[in-house]
Symmetry: C2
Subunit: 720 residues, 2 copies
């Protein structure tokens, strides 16, 4: 019986082994704590070693933290047991991670700071000196201690602690992030069908994760964005070199996660082979990059690109060309690397020859031509003799087993040879194992360099992905303006996801012209006309531009937006006791209190969840407030035709509508956005298309006529 | 190097190994095919051996099949490659399984029939004689062949092929099944928060799966339902015996899945122990059941309850009390079961003693007191001598390793002993393995009996679960009437899920009185008032009653319903190009064409997705059609106050509304349903609660006043 000890504890945030090396998605462990000054959030991707902290202050601190958690969607969150705030409220309904209530002592400043000092070189912690960063330090210290405790070893893959200030990024609140389906869809909580899915043409998990992080936090810095855009443009212009980069990257496995497994001594030989293969393409990749030295960003990456040739050479010397998955099968260490291994291999091979020779000798001695050596697990090696020859069996043969057709024997000499062979094999395996673990340790010594290279690869991959998407999907480079200009202009703009889904149908692009003097477009027109798609395409284009991507438009000129809001549709949330309308009003209230004149606001059908007049009144009052008090750039798609009158009263309000062509009873949706208010809404026609009985359609038309002539109340009763 | 062959292929529908033995959820493999006569569907739970077929004919065959697939949510679906129908259209967007395009030959009648004949005893196939069942036979044959091909062995866990006729069950279409969140929620596609989650107090995976199947297909047969209700009632009345049953069931593991693993030779020793433990409680469970022989259904179960005592006795004799998880660790077979195993165990134990004795002998011979025997994987057993004693080492010691403090040696005698010990252990393991596999085979011979017992356990468990829920949650036994009576009546009815979620708040129960003369209730009143919850609670109570469960009401008397429809909320489906309103109208058209006077229809906010007048006209016309042409029992929750006038024109239409109390600016939702139409809708008050700025609220009130006096168009412009 083998004695067992707990070697490590696996939790959702620390599951190094179960994380796929082929699925790139991030798996975050977060930690939250707070004092009077604010809230601290530490986030760690334990499988890659990525580690950062943020702080949240002011009256909105809980909401901002909640928004951040929605974007990151951590798998596990540490909170101090008995914390003052209730952590459950921090998560949108669909995003609940495992909450681990951890020892509050680990979050105490003194201990947390000590934990950090012991793990990181002192210089690297200078940012965090002084009590201003106490919440961040406490959250980070708790994660480190938790990892050390669960893994029974300090997390050596963590080499650096970064500080992320959310002030430097565009604000996307939880609702907007979800509604715009930026990294996952609303229906399946899944990447497929999201904006990320469309623009992710990365070749490595490293690049894919970085691209996702970019989308989670679009930028506000014009200079950095221009550098990214220039890099994308350079890469987009050279098809051949870009394909060469992509082919090279396709050979690169998830270096970060492989490294973590190496550091924990848990990488298997096949994974180590993947690691070696990943390194093998680095020199040639660096070589191609020289052609793009004209781009400032790519040149910076090129300069700090360490191709790790020494690590590769070591692996080339030590690791077999095609080792098995399982270390215990042997055949992992290349011959020539360790003399003892080579020697034991020879014994084991020769031993088998010796046994074959013994078989020949015994055949001759006994005269039994059909004598043969066999092997099974129960008896080891044996001689098998058929019934016909039993008489010729000599005395020194010891019988071991009787078969239907004969007998099996052993001899002392056979057993001796067996012991030599089996003994050598067992010792060989043990030695290979030792040698392999030393190899892992040696690679682990270059962990910092490997992580730097992985980060450079991630950037190259994310940038080439944006270039590839731009070329494949016909995106154009946006001209970004300072936010103060308050100007948005798109020509032939498309929705990046919908245009991909509509394979058989022609996608109709649309324009938007929103100079400083225009703040609100009221968009009316029939359902299925494309109002929602239009509004979302504007929001997505702005977000794409602000991560440094080209955008799906022929022309795009726009001022950077500090926030994007999207109130789109809504679903009941019965289980939390909130009705559709309450959810809707909460979202609107949030927009009114946070939008600025540099924001972009998308409103799709506000006011639907209540009675007609109530809803219309609210929609009207909200529109007025947005125009008069906030002056944010707003697109408002609505079924309330009455709202179009706002354009007659406010100079910065204009109407748009979707074009429809009628042909007798048929209606054709042109999906084209036109200036001016819609004159009809075609709801009854849609009902007919959906297959409602003709009698119902005729009756609905009759009623509509009465309503339109404003004498419904009187006539509807008289009529019957 | 070990040679490898493909031993089996794992697909989502055939993943026996990866299926949890603790998570009960079903994992279905389905197969679809069709000819001119209709469509055939075969469904198999490969991990339990459950296997059945259905057929679909008539003009609605594709829709009915789609509804069935939504309920079952198979993990994998086989379709003949190049089939006439496009299988992709068969799945609602969120329910897409893996589609496996399989060799059309496997679906051909001749071959499929042959496959079935070879697998099942001829008698059991009598139902399927003749060409009427060709589609079902073809679908079933294809599954069997696919399983044999992927598992590289015939699926011996499949003992029976059942025929399920959907005519015998209440129809719940895909939309209704999803909207009512019967087995999973809309948001998370997850059991948690669903009706199933609330009523599942089963103790075994067997019972949990059966309960889910009941919910997927409520019954139409009054006699069968009364038998189930009586069994539930009997179980609910004896607390002590019910707890005894529950404790016994708590010891029962997933017998069906364990059996399948046993049949495939893939059950590990710990699993076999679970299997034995499950059997150990059967006699006592059967004993308790005798007290319930008064219930016809429980008595039937009791009579055919095979407690499998012979199988238990075999396992008791052969399997260790606490075997390891991994067979290769040994210590799996009990001593006394196999003489050779006992003998080898002795050699292995004695061998270690011999080595200890040799240590003592050599100490005396050499005079080295600190001499000791050690073992490592590389060198095996050795003698270790400290530096100080090196001079006393005799000549027959062979040096093997030099340490800082001494040397390690072997002797011939030590090596001989080592070979005996290590050899015996290796042979022991091999023999235990053989013995273990024979044991699995022997248990497999009783597979049919074990499956029968598993089915009986499932029924007992599902029934006790319903009884436990009834007692814990205060449900009452419904009085079921024939469908022709068309009478629905509930007193103090609650929503089974919402009442559980509202922990801090008091749940307000409501009544429904819908005799034959009343067909439509129009329900108006403010949002958050509880209209939706009320409508859903009626639908859920009917469904619960029709699976034989008690219902969350003080009094429940209702006629069986042939179908339940729920059009509730709606979400955009941008990616399929359908707007909210189109989805809504499609669902309504489906209801109008399929509802009968014996159906229950729930409409929540029909007409919202278009302009005000269009939507109202449609809602009106649809209501009239339902009342005049269909005469189904209908509950229609709406924000169109204008609809309440319908009650003045149609005698079978009545109004209901939700009660609200106003206290100054405050409003209190009483969640009480009252007769009569609502007079106000409180949308603006909700806006205030949600935190909209006061200026917006005041302005909205102003606009509302204008609207209510019908002079909006004129005054709104004058006013500015």
């Amino acid at each position: 019986i083998v004695r067992r000890e707990v070697v490590r504890i696996i939790t959702p945030g620390t599951a190094l082994d179960n994380l796929s090396l082929t699925v790139p998605a991030s798996n975050y462990l977060a930690s939250i704590t707070g004092n009077e000054a604010g809230l601290g959030l530490a986030v760690c991707e334990t499988s890659t070693g990525d580690f950062w902290v943020s702080q949240f202050t002011g009256t909105d601190q809980l909401k901002t933290l909640k928004d951040e958690l929605t974007r990151l969607k951590p798998a596990e969150v540490l909170v101090p047991a008995g914390a003052a705030f209730n952590p459950v409220h921090l998560f949108a309904n669909q995003e609940k991670p495992l909450l681990t209530y951890y020892d509050p002592k680990a979050f105490a400043y003194h201990l947390a700071h000590k934990t950090l000092r012991e793990h990181f070189p002192p210089d690297s912690l200078r940012t965090f000196a002084g009590s201003d960063y106490a919440p961040a330090v406490c959250a980070a210290g708790a994660i480190l201690q938790y990892l050390t405790e669960t893994q029974k070893a300090p997390p050596r893959q963590i080499k650096e602690l970064k500080y992320v200030s959310l002030q430097n990024y565009m604000t996307l609140d939880a609702t907007t992030f979800r509604n715009l389906e930026i990294t996952r869809t609303i229906r399946f909580h899944d990447k497929k069908g999201s904006l990320l899915d469309i623009i992710d043409k990365t070749k490595t998990s490293l690049g894919s994760r970085l691209l996702q992080r970019w989308l989670e936090r679009p930028l506000l810095d014009l200079k950095v964005l221009e550098e990214r855009l220039s890099a994308v443009e350079a890469l987009s212009q050279d098809w051949a070199k870009r394909q060469a980069i992509r082919s090279a990257l396709a050979e690169v496995y998830d270096l970060e996660r492989l490294l973590t497994r190496i550091l924990y001594g848990r990488a298997n030989p096949k994974e180590l082979l993947s690691f070696r293969q990943s390194l093998s393409v680095l020199p040639q990749l660096k070589n191609i990059l020289h052609s793009f030295a004209g781009s400032h960003l790519l040149n910076t990456l090129l300069k700090s690109f360490d191709t790790l040739e020494d690590v590769y050479a070591l692996l080339e010397k030590a690791l077999e060309e095609n080792p098995p998955y399982n270390l215990k099968e042997g055949g992992v260490i290349k011959s020539g690397y360790n003399p003892t291994i080579d020697q034991l291999r020879e014994v084991s091979t020769n031993g088998k020859e010796w046994i074959a020779r013994l078989e020949t000798e015994e055949k001759e001695k006994t005269g039994i031509k059909s004598l043969k050596v066999g092997f099974n697990k129960v008896f080891g090696y044996y001689f098998e003799v058929t019934k016909a020859n039993l008489a010729s069996v000599p005395g020194y043969f010891q019988r071991k087993q009787t078969l239907a057709n004969g007998e099996r024997y052993i001899t002392e000499e056979l057993k001796n040879l067996e012991n030599q062979v089996l003994g050598a094999e067992e010792r060989l395996l043990a030695l290979e194992e030792e040698c392999y673990h030393n190899l892992l340790k040696e690679i682990g010594n270059s962990a910092g360099r490997i992580q730097n290279t992985a980060e450079i690869l991630a950037h190259i991959d994310a940038l080439q992905s944006l270039a590839e998407v731009a070329v494949q999907n016909g995106y154009g480079r946006p001209l970004l303006l300072e936010k103060e200009k308050n100007h948005l202009e798109f020509e032939e703009l498309r929705h990046p996801v919908v245009e991909k889904v509509l394979k058989d149908t022609l996608y109709i692009p649309n324009n938007l012209h929103m100079p400083e003097a225009v703040n609100l477009y009221i968009i009316t027109g029939p359902n299925m006309g494309g109002k929602s798609t239009y509004c979302r395409s504007v929001a997505l284009a702005v977000i794409l531009g602000q991560i440094g991507s080209f955008v799906p438009a022929k022309k795009a000129v726009f001022s950077l937006r500090d926030r994007v809001f999207a109130r789109v549709g809504a679903s009941d949330d019965l289980s939390s006791g909130q009705s559709t309308f309450m959810v809707e009003m909460n979202e609107v209230a949030n927009i009114l209190s946070h939008a600025t004149r540099h924001s972009l606001v998308i409103l799709d059908e506000v006011g639907r969840g209540t009675s007609t007049y109530d809803g219309l009144s609210m929609a009207w009052a909200v529109s007025e407030h947005l125009v008069q008090k906030v002056a944010a750039k707003t697109l408002f798609a609505t079924h309330y035709h009455e709202l179009t009158q706002l354009a007659n009263m406010e100079p910065s309000v204009h109407n748009l509508s979707v074009a429809v062509r009628e042909r007798g009873e048929e209606i054709i949706f042109l999906h084209q956005i036109m200036p001016g208010a819609a004159d009809k809404s075609y709801g009854i026609q849609v009902g007919r298309l959906a297959g409602l009985p003709d009698s119902v359609i005729q009756r609905a038309k009759q009623i509509l006529k009465l309503l339109e002539h404003d004498n419904f109340n009187r006539q509807i009763l008289e009529q019957e």
